[in-house]
């Protein structure tokens, strides 16, 4: 199992360390996207799991927003996001990066156990948890450490030495849209704090553990429950109603979840499972090349060329069709299907 290298500093006291952490933040946000997409695309398009599919889709969109926000912060402090390198995509099954390694995450079909794993990923921090820069219990603690680091560096170096990035490199809602919320251009400590708060609240909830809502209405968006609770809605087959409390079950409208109405994707598929030159292998590689190309386009957009995002959006659509096609092909192993493997495969190979 490949490890993601974590910086060893207990706290963030230098710009270098801040860059490493923010790059890691981007990788952490990306980490959840292939597993969430596998769950989403394994749901058959027969209309029977429409609510569950929309809930997962909305979470994926917000993770993409988090990646973008983390990139904006990194750009703002003079760093350069790197999305197009061979270690960027985890080799599933994998522990959450920079975590206490209590559970692994896999590429697998939509199921109760998959949803329970997703809830572990998005678990809200309790208010007593101290931010830790090395081993984190939750993603939110990681971001708190980043915030502390930003504040420290602004105090010691002065904001002008911290926020050195070019403003026009920031991703704004000119080219970024529909991806889970309003993207925040980062130009100073205040906007960096907004960006971090947006990420934390969408994942775990406003005042984590005390409210099921994600605080988005502060940014002029309708009230939505945080990721953890959205996954719980799927598990319970019931929506939260206004006034519901975090520790209680949801009490709103019920909806049906047909756990069997899925493509039976193999867990953690690899292109290497199939012979080079075979039709299945060709399709696996085609998907992986496209996904890698998408990362290259995002990398280019997040390094000072925001308009390239338009091309990335086009590619996202075609990836969905390729993924679902793979979900439908029998794998030859039991009654499972092939499914996408999300492996790094640059164009030349």
């Amino acid at each position: 199992m490949k490890k993601v290298e974590s910086p060893k500093d207990p706290q963030i006291t230098t710009l270098e360390s801040l860059y490493k952490h923010l790059q890691l933040a981007i990788e952490v946000e990306h980490f959840t996207i292939p597993p969430y997409l596998c769950a989403l695309y394994s749901i058959k398009d027969d209309g029977r799991n429409r609510v569950a599919a929309e809930l997962i889709q909305s979470v994926v969109m917000e993770e993409m927003l988090h990646m973008t926000l983390a990139s904006n912060i990194l750009l703002a402090v003079g760093g350069r996001p790197d999305l197009h390198h061979s270690n960027f995509i985890p080799t599933y099954p994998e522990h959450m990066p920079h975590s206490d390694k209590k559970f692994t995450v896999s590429l697998e079909k939509f199921s109760k156990s998959a949803i329970k794993t997703f809830m572990k990923i998005e678990k809200p921090e309790t208010s007593k948890a101290k931010p830790e820069a090395h081993n984190y219990h939750t993603i939110a603690q990681f971001y708190d450490a980043v915030l502390e680091g930003l504040e420290y560096l602004c105090r010691t170096l002065g904001p002008d030495k911290v926020f050195t990035g070019k403003k026009h490199h920031q991703i704004t809602n000119k080219y970024y849209y529909g991806g889970g919320g309003r993207v925040i251009p980062v130009i100073d400590l205040k906007s960096a704090m907004h960006a971090v708060e947006e990420i934390k609240e969408q994942g775990e909830g406003h005042i984590a553990g005390k409210s099921i809502y994600d605080g988005d209405h502060k940014y002029g968006q309708p009230r939505e429950v945080a990721h953890y609770y959205r996954f719980n809605e799927i598990l319970e087959g019931q929506s939260y109603a206004p006034g519901d409390k975090p520790k209680k079950k949801p009490s709103g409208e019920t909806f049906k979840v047909h756990w069997n109405s899925v493509y039976r994707m193999r867990k953690n598929p690899k292109a290497g499972d199939y012979d080079p030159g075979s039709p299945i292998r060709e399709k696996m590689d085609e998907f992986n090349r496209s996904y890698t190309k998408l990362l290259a386009l995002l990398d280019h957009s997040f390094s000072g060329h925001p308009s390239v995002l338009l091309q990335a959006v086009q590619l996202m659509y075609s990836l969905k069709y390729k993924a679902v096609a793979l979900m439908k092909i029998p794998s030859g192993k039991g009654n499972t299907t092939v499914g996408p493997s999300f492996e790094f495969l640059p164009e030349s190979t």
Binding site: G47, R50, M61, Y177, G178, G220, Q221, P222, E224, Y317
Partner: protein
Amino acid sequence: MEVGLNLLRRILDKRNPNLKALKTKVYDVVIVGAGISGALVAAQLKRKGKSVLILEAGLDEGLKPSSYQDYLEHFYTQEVKVPNSPYPNNPNAPQSNVLDIQKIEPGTPDVSGYYVQYGPLPFSSTNTRAVGGTTLHWLGICLRMLPNDFRMRSKYGYGVDWPLKYKDLKSYYEQAELEIGVSADVEDLRYPGTNSSFFGKGYRFPMHKIPPSYLDQVLTRRLKGMIYYDQQDEVKIDVVSIPQGRNSIPNKHYIDPRTNKPYQPVSAVGHPHMGERCEGNSSCIPICPVQAKYNALKTLDKAVNGKGKGRVEVRTQCVVSRLEIDSDNGKIKGVIYQHYPGSNKERTAVGKCYVLAASAIENAKLMLASGAAKTSGQLGCNLMDHPYLLTWALMPDPVGPFRGPFSTSGIPSFRDGPFRKRHSAFRTDIGNWGWNFPTGAPFSDVQLMVDQHNLFGKELRNQLYNSVQKQFRFGFLIEQIPQTSNRVTIDPNHVDAMGNYRPVIYYNLSEYELAGFATAKSFSDQVFQRLGAAQFTSYAPSDPGFVQYEGMGYSFHGSGHIVGTHRMGNHAHDSVVSKTQKCWDHQNLYLVGCGSMPTIGTSNPTLTMAALALQASESITNDLR
């Protein structure tokens, strides 16, 4: 199939427990019709603190995101993708469908559809009786009328003059472009007969233009410098981007006066982040899967749930049959309606002021059924459409059709000019969807090649690519001038399942329009020659919209524009409503919609209708003080 049944089941199972309460409550305003006009008026009145009831004949669908999804799934199951295909026909509130349009035998009306058509030509435009109205399936084009469109009689000797000038409507057009959310760049817009004062100084649209298609770019290059000679008049041909109610990149300099912040595209109702940009799904008509295209559900959502001291209620499945009129003073006392399912019991909704916003034919029908607005004799008359003429060709090289909106650019060069003394003005749509409208491509191509030409495999793919990828078509919206003989009326022999009248229509085209057809066709022929495109246009005498003029045959379709049946004017003796759409004969009644337009010009009428609705809202608010 199952999904369609779900929708129908809702017609039968729905109960509305709060109907009793409606009987005694007096609203500030009762609006009939939850389409764009009704929604805009309701939203404005809510901001002014008024209480509004909207009665809608259609199903309880659309405002909930899951029910919009039902429309989509119904659409996917329909074999023929006509404009009303996602919106199932409902016997309690029947609506027209283009599939019903047929040739009319002289002396025998065509009763196969909802309209009873006496002809001689079939009226070929349809509307949608549902929450959101016809904006559910409209294309989204938002063009302003041109200054001369408002003074056809004095300038060209045809039609009538409006009681308004273009400049009277200018600020309402700006407001409508904000409310709908229109994408365009002023510097790209050029119209004949206009100058830099056509748009206000420094005016910007809320969002930047939808990018022109590859086809648009090819035509822009190849038609540069072209001049068409219409007798002695020179018409300089120009390809211009079309403003549309479709989400695009927001213009960062446009500060939304409602929020004092830069404009934000309005997403799908109930889906906070869906539809913020056009995705190129290429199914605008009949339904945008992501609601990047404006539909009136967005305004209704604001009216019901948005800011404002007032209150707006929408009651669906309530079909209005007539107005109750006070015989002493002509004021409207109540709106009589029936709710379905359930008994046919008549109920009354009461307001201080009433608005009919049910679309031009339905408004006229309701007024006639109530014995209203008799003074002018113009009620129901002057029915107009834009007869739509198609021409199509195969370009010498692939042009990438079937991507993006139906039309992103057009040729406005014939929208105004001295030729209007001789024949209709017209607007030219550049169609991005190949021969879909005239021939049913690409499905018809597949069928032809497989069934008739015995092609399959690689050969089939090659042939398809070579034909489909080069398909290109023009659509010409011909201005129809008002005629009193083109009209809607009612007949007790023709009623629907609920006992309400079906519209009885008399419709024809005049020489003015036919001469416009001839010019459009001649222009199209010249363009195809210039492009080196192989013409495939053909009109068959068996086409329902087939007409002859000067030895040539043409077939026309409806544009979906239903206009003119309760026109505005300066005097009660020759118009139904005043310039604020207040009914001359009934002082607490407004007839809002395209029916109020005295002429149709060459612009798709929705934007003008929206501007007029916003103007009427001010007048209604004043009346209520």
